[in-house]
């Protein structure tokens, strides 16, 4: 499959340490996902689409990769140790590792601050959204 980003499914699988072939299509990840309605592609689709090599579509879907809460519900409730959240993370990393692709920049921060916002929120968002 031609890719706009030169990212292969093998790379995604390797970054994630996940083998999508373990999936048995039960859908429990997407049933558990608390961010389901925010995402275009859902946890089980990440598994199936990585298996099919449809990496570009996933990388282009901001509404999918930046709406995962990393809450690990899909990991916890998967009966086959597939760990869909790791695939979402790997796709997100493949995007933000591209030059100029940081989803959050220091310039964005002041507008986001409020007096109670814990440092943890900033640190976490930085880890998730930037390189």
């Amino acid at each position: 499959m031609a890719s706009n980003y030169d990212v292969t499914k093998e790379e995604i699988e390797e970054i994630a340490g996940v083998n999508p072939l373990r999936c048995m299509r039960c859908g429990r990840c997407s049933a558990a996902c608390p961010s389901f309605d925010n995402m275009k592609y859902h946890p089980h689709q990440f598994v199936a689409m990585v298996e099919n090599g449809e990496i570009d579509a996933l990388m282009e879907s901001e509404s999918s990769i930046y709406k995962c809460m990393s809450c690990m519900a899909c990991i916890e409730r998967c009966p086959r140790q597939v760990q869909p959240a790791r695939l979402i993370e790997a796709v997100r990393l493949a995007v933000v590792r591209k030059q100029g692709q940081n989803h959050l920049t220091p310039d964005d921060i002041p507008a986001l601050l409020d007096p109670d916002l814990p440092q943890q929120a900033l640190v976490s968002a930085y880890r998730k959204f930037t390189k």
Binding site: M69, R86, Q120, R127
Partner: protein, 264 residues
């Protein structure tokens, strides 16, 4: 018992309460938190990938420090606990990560393979001190107070690594609530995510999550929920309006019960 204590960034700033009340309570219960000197921020979230080593090193340094001092590593913040415990697991079981991390650490004269035991403050209360002892130490029993535990995701997941409690029906905080003389309120949403760092992406997402969580707590009878995570605390508090549910750190309530809560 003396522990190597990893406070984490937020406990030094926005979540000073979580830290201060925790320290005081520890003193009252007879265990000591010895802060790891020059600890570095854990990163807030565990890197769910196989190929980033540097982001794990702050955890490895803290873990190696605890190992050198023959102490268990204790945390109060759920996020630090989650990151450090998962990295510890990597160091013990993931050859690639362990080898590469140790290569980095060589220059600091550190070799580390997951030897340190990572415990959360709650585990110390339950397993070391024992809730019976906690109960005996309570000076101001929170009689009749209906408190729900809010676990969030980080304390319990992934359960094969965190191994703190039944990840789908935990009781470690409920049992503490009982020990403090209050009535624990069990509600199903207590281990569902608050929206976490997405507060920086789209406030509407945590808002919806928190409403679901707190409404569930409320209708099951909770007047208050307690948590160990500063980000959960923030999200819950921010969107608690109208639900009538109070949000507190577990250490604050504990300090109150133990009679060591003074004004910070």
């Amino acid at each position: 018992m003396v522990y190597s204590y990893f406070p984490g960034c937020t406990l030094k700033n926005k979540a000073k309460d979580l830290d201060a009340y925790g320290r005081r309570s520890a003193e009252a219960l007879g265990f000591t938190l010895e802060e790891i000197p020059e600890w570095q921020c854990c990163g807030g979230v565990y890197p769910m990938n196989k190929d980033e080593i540097a982001v794990r090193l702050s955890s490895v340094r803290a873990l190696a420090y605890a190992k050198d001092h023959d102490q268990e590593l204790i945390t109060m913040c759920s996020a630090c606990h989650n990151v450090i415990k998962q990295v510890n697991n990597d160091m013990a079981h993931d050859e690639y990560i362990s080898e590469h991390a140790n290569n980095y650490m060589k220059s600091e004269g550190v070799e580390y393979h997951g030897e340190t035991k990572v415990v959360h403050y709650l585990e110390v209360l339950r397993d070391e001190i024992g809730y019976d002892k906690v109960k005996e130490a309570v000076r101001n029993p929170l009689k009749g107070k209906k408190i729900g535990a809010y676990y969030g995701c980080l304390l319990l997941r992934p359960s094969d690594v965190m191994a703190m409690d039944n990840a789908e029906n935990p009781s470690i905080i409920e049992d503490l609530i009982k020990a403090m003389g209050a009535d624990p309120i069990v509600y199903a949403q207590r281990n569902e995510c608050c929206g976490g760092y997405l507060t920086l992406e789209d406030k509407a997402i945590p808002e919806k999550r928190v409403k679901t969580i707190l409404q569930n707590a409320k209708e099951q009878g909770a007047e208050m929920v307690i948590t160990a995570c500063p980000l959960c605390y923030y999200n819950l508090k921010k969107h608690a309006e109208g639900t009538g549910v109070e949000v507190k750190y577990f250490t604050e309530v504990l300090a109150d019960a133990l009679g060591v809560k003074e004004e910070n």
